[in-house]
C-alpha cells in the first residue's frame, strides 16, 4: 500500500485530538474530541472550520476568457462563457456516455482574463487532470495549484468571524470569489461550501495556512470539524457525494442537477456526453435521485434496497445515516421515476426487515446561503 499523504494541517489536527483515518489517499480527521453530533450542531449554530486541503485545486489557462471558457464548455454542461469575473459555479465533468467523471467548482478569477480556477474531488483529481489535458485544444493548459491548502469556514457566524480579519468578505454574495488578504496573508476566498450554511472556502499557501487557522480558532465561535460531520451536514443539505450519490454511470439529469445545466447549453449541447443528457432532459430520466425519510429511528445506510409497498425493488440508497439537525435518520438514493414523487410511501430493507419510509423533498435542513 502506498503511504498516505498529509495536509499541511496534519500536526494541528493531531494536536487538537483529531482521530485520523485514511480518506482519498490522505490521513484526515474523521472527528475531534467533541464528536460528530456536537461538531455538526456547532456548525449549524455558530461556525465550523474544515480542512479540505486534500481536494484538487488547478487553473485552466488560456489567452482570454472566451477561449478558455469555450474549451471547458466542451467538458461540462454549465454556462461558463457567461460567468462574470469573480463568480463561481458548480458543474460536472461528463464522460462520453453522459456519466459524471467528477463534480467540481469553476471560478472565473476577478482580475485575470483567461484563467478559470477549478476545485475537484480528492479521489478524482489525477483522473480529472488527465481527462481535461486530453480534451483541451492547443493554446489552453491546465496547471495544478500546488503548494496551496484549502479550508472551509461554515455556519451562521462565518461572516462576522471573517470580517474581523478580512473586511471585504462580508459584502460577498453566495458564489462570489475574490482574491483578498486575511490580516497580512494572501488568500483566494469564495462564499460557498458543502454544509448548506453560509460560509467561505479559502485557498491559502501551505506555509501560511496554520497561521490563518489559528487566527480563526482564536474566536470562541469557531470549532474544528472532521469528515464525519462534513458528511452528515452535506447529507442534510441534500448535496451529492461523488462516488456515492453520483458516479460515472449516473447523469446529472438523473441526479437532480438540472439546475446546474445552463439554459443555452440545453439548447446547443456541444459538450462530451450531451447526447444522453439532452435526451434525458427531453424524455425525463427513468430513475431519479430523491430524498428518503425513514419513519422510524433506524438509519438506512448506503446500499440499502428500496422497495415499493408491493415489495417490488425500485432502487437503492446511496447515502444514509443520522441527521443531527433533523434528529433522526435521513437518506438519499435513486428510485424509478414512477416512485419518485414526494410523499410516496416506500419500504427499506434493513437487516432483512422492511422499514417504513417516505420519498421526501430535499434539503432535510433548510439552506442558509447568503443571498
Amino acid at each position: 500500500m502506498t503511504e498516505l499523504l498529509k495536509t499541511p494541517l496534519f500536526d494541528l489536527h493531531v494536536a487538537n485530538g483529531g482521530r485520523m483515518v485514511p480518506f482519498a489517499g490522505y490521513e484526515m480527521p474523521v472527528q475531534y474530541k467533541t464528536g460528530i453530533v456536537g461538531e455538526h450542531n456547532h456548525t449549524r449554530q455558530k461556525a465550523g472550520l474544515f480542512d479540505v486541503s486534500h481536494m484538487g485545486q488547478a487553473f485552466l489557462i488560456g489567452p482570454n476568457h472566451e477561449t478558455v471558457s469555450d474549451a471547458l464548455e466542451k467538458l461540462v454542461p454549465a454556462e461558463i462563457k457567461g460567468l462574470e469575473r469573480g463568480q463561481q459555479r458548480y458543474t460536472q465533468l461528463i464522460n462520453a456516455d453522459g456519466g459524471i467523471i467528477d463534480d467540481l467548482m469553476v471560478t472565473r478569477l476577478e482580475d485575470d482574463e483567461g484563467t478559470l480556477m477549478l476545485v475537484v474531488n480528492a479521489d478524482c483529481k489525477q483522473g480529472d487532470y488527465d481527462w481535461i489535458r486530453a480534451n483541451i485544444p492547443h493554446g489552453i493548459h491546465l496547471e495544478e495549484h500546488s503548494g496551496h491548502a484549502l479550508i472551509a469556514l461554515q455556519g451562521p457566524a462565518s461572516e462576522k468571524i471573517m470580517a474581523a480579519h478580512c473586511s471585504n468578505t462580508a459584502a460577498m454574495g453566495f458564489m462570489d470569489a475574490v482574491a483578498s488578504r486575511f490580516n497580512d496573508i494572501d488568500i483566494h476566498v469564495s462564499r460557498s461550501g458543502y454544509t448548506g450554511e453560509d460560509g467561505y472556502e479559502i485557498s491559502v499557501a501551505d506555509d501560511k495556512v496554520e497561521q490563518l487557522v489559528n487566527a480563526l480558532l482564536a474566536d470562541d465561535d469557531v470549532m474544528l470539524i472532521g469528515l464525519g460531520a462534513r458528511d452528515s451536514l452535506r447529507l442534510e443539505a441534500g448535496l451529492c457525494l461523488y462516488g456515492h450519490d453520483i458516479d460515472d454511470k449516473t447523469s446529472p439529469v438523473e441526479a437532480g442537477l438540472l439546475w446546474s445545466i445552463g439554459k443555452r447549453r440545453r439548447e446547443e449541447g456541444g459538450f462530451i456526453g450531451a447526447e444522453r443528457i439532452l435526451r434525458e432532459i427531453a424524455e425525463k430520466p427513468s430513475r431519479r435521485r430523491v430524498g428518503i425519510k425513514p419513519l422510524g429511528r433506524a438509519p438506512a445506510r448506503e446500499g440499502t434496497e428500496i422497495q415499493s409497498m408491493d415489495g417490488e425493488t425500485i432502487g437503492t440508497i446511496t447515502s444514509g445515516g443520522f441527521g443531527p439537525t433533523v434528529g433522526g435518520p435521513v437518506a438519499m438514493g435513486y428510485v424509478s421515476a414512477e416512485h419518485a414523487k414526494a410523499d410516496t410511501p416506500v419500504q427499506l430493507i434493513v437487516r432483512g426487515k422492511a422499514l417504513e419510509a417516505q420519498i421526501t423533498r430535499m434539503p432535510f435542513a433548510p439552506h442558509n446561503f447568503k443571498r
Binding site: V30, G35, I36, G228, R297, A298, P299, G321, F322
Partner: protein, 122 residues
C-alpha cells in the same frame, strides 16, 4: 467490580449468580462515537454466544451487539431505544443493554477479567 468480565467484542458482563447483565465498555462507546440507534432482542428470546444479540448504530456506522454468552433474555433496557445517547453518557452503569439467564455458566471462563481487558485495549 470483581465479578465483572469482559469480552473481546468490548462488552462487560456483570455476573450475579446465574444471571448476567451485559453492556458495552467505555472504550467501545469512545470508538463508536455518538450512538444514535439501539435495537434490543425481545425478552424471552434466546441468544447464542458469538451471534448477534442487538444492533448499535453510531452516526458513522452500524454494528452488532455480539452475545458474549448464551442464554435467555430476561430483561432489556428499553430506555436505550428511546435515548440511545445514554450509551455514550453512562455505558458501564445505567446504559446496560440486556440481562441474560445463563444456559452454560462455563462460558464465563473464556472471558477476560478487568486487568486482562485493560491490556487487551492498551
Amino acid at each position: 467490580m470483581s465479578n465483572t468480565k469482559y469480552s473481546e467484542e468490548h462488552e462487560w458482563i456483570s455476573v450475579d449468580g446465574d444471571t448476567v447483565t451485559i453492556g458495552i465498555t467505555n472504550h467501545a462507546q469512545e470508538q463508536l462515537g455518538d450512538v444514535v440507534f439501539v435495537e434490543l432482542p425481545d425478552v424471552g428470546s434466546t441468544i447464542s454466544k458469538g451471534e448477534d444479540a442487538g444492533v448499535i448504530e453510531s452516526v458513522k456506522a452500524a454494528s452488532e451487539l455480539v452475545a458474549p454468552v448464551s442464554g435467555e433474555v430476561v430483561e432489556t433496557n428499553s430506555a436505550l431505544e428511546d435515548e440511545p445517547g445514554k450509551v455514550n453518557e453512562d455505558p458501564e452503569n445505567s446504559a446496560w443493554f440486556i440481562k441474560v439467564k445463563l444456559s452454560d455458566a462455563s462460558e464465563l471462563d473464556g472471558l477476560m477479567d478487568v486487568e486482562a481487558y485493560k491490556s487487551f485495549i492498551a
